[in-house]
Symmetry: C2
């Protein structure tokens, strides 16, 4: 996980297969308490697995704040060591409760 990339966007969390889902969840929950949206980027099955686990855990962290979140997956192309790879972006949004 890296939330302080030189070219990073605020609220963008980069998750790898080695990321700790609980730590990512804590970072995501902190962002979602302050902002309406965040983004998780993950490349590879291991990373995407950790990212989804992190969202599920963050939902439990955010329950006390009466916030629930949903994720909207899409494909992204990221450059890793001068090679283009296809990864997933998970747009995280506060859930809109039906009226």
């Amino acid at each position: 996980m890296n939330t302080e990339e030189p070219h990073g966007t605020p609220g963008t969390l980069k998750v790898s297969a080695k990321s700790n889902p609980n730590a990512v969840a804590g970072a995501l929950a902190a962002v979602m308490r302050e902002r309406a949206t965040a983004e998780i980027q993950a490349v590879g099955a291991g990373a995407i697995n950790q990212a989804i686990k992190a969202v599920a855990i963050a939902r439990s962290y955010l329950r006390d704040s009466n916030i629930d979140v949903v994720c909207v997956p899409s494909f992204i192309t990221v450059e890793i060591s001068d090679h283009e790879r296809t990864g997933m972006s998970l747009a995280i949004e506060r859930r809109t409760h039906a009226p």
Copy 2:
């Protein structure tokens, strides 16, 4: 993918690491044209990866129908060959557009 489990719930798609994301996406899109919600169940990093890809692909399939979907991940316990394993459930919901 198995949409016709004997004990399956309508709208529940079981995805494995060997599932074809395009095929799962087609099945998910078909369900989401008819229903407000669906569920994808996946156990293991490979399966979760295919499931998330399928949701991203289904979003493009559903664009022509002016439907967008979000997913809400949570942990589930599933029994596989008499062993309990932790997997992920992705609740798929039509996106509520802000007014």
